[in-house]
Amino acid sequence: MTGFELPVALFLLANLAASLWRVLRGPGDANRLLAALLFGSTGVGILALLAFSQTPAATPLLDVALTLALLAAITAIAFAQRAWQRGTDPKRADD
């Protein structure tokens, strides 16, 4: 533990908040999906940082991070396949 883990995690969370704006604003589903992608990897990072933000390190949280890394792809793929279709493409006016 260096004492920086939590501040860095906070910073990443702030990043995440910023990209949440992208999720909300779009335009279009594709960009939202991108943001979700970022969420995945940022989430993994934050979890890893949280794991080491205490002494001794809470290594179980690494398992959580690993799960997230394994499974984040699934949501994204499902979104691309199922949700993102013609008619919801980014050219359409964002409702």
């Binding site: 290594t59 799960t67 792809a73 699934i74 793929i77 499902a78 691309a80």
Partner: protein, 221 residues
Amino acid sequence: MKRFAVSAAALGFAFWLISALLNLPATLIDLRPLLAEAIPKSGVAHPVTAVLLNTRGYDTLLEIAVLLVALIGVLIAVPPGNPALSERPATADDAMVPALARLVAPLAVFFAIYVLWAGAHRPGGAFQAAAILAAALVLLHLAGLTAAWSAPTLRLRIGLIAGFLIFLAIAAAPLLGGMLLQYPPALVGTLILVIESGLTISLALVLAGLFLLLADRGGVR
């Protein structure tokens, strides 16, 4: 009008409760020391698992029943012998998703086994492992590598309930001389592992079933 009333009620409720919670004194009863005492007898080192499968194992038994009920509910919503599936998934002929699935799925299985095994002494356990396995199954389906399920076959049905039946049997066996779910001290660790293993497989099938029974049909008929 309704919108306003409900919103106001929700807001008022939240304020009332929050202001009350800010003044809440500490509890008189604390289960933590009790639990700490019980851990050595519980057969597992990890307290959450001890609660889930030992001290409050009865909750878990019923919770599995809830999942099975939900699965049966899904089966009811899907007519048997659903005719030809609609469009294939958009990426079925993509090379990338199957490749990813081929890589991730085995890793997920491996990781699930680890999570299951870890459950005895650190966070993890049957449900988490099952969820990971189920996710892997879903991924395989999204990649076009496994088909969706139509009506479950006998083998599948047995798979779905096997874990539950094992749990039931182990829960009932102590009744011969004691209480429901009162594992014999000598076997407690083993029995919990057996239960968790069975549950992992069945729960994975159930969770995957929630998706795979409905998936890929472009809508239920």
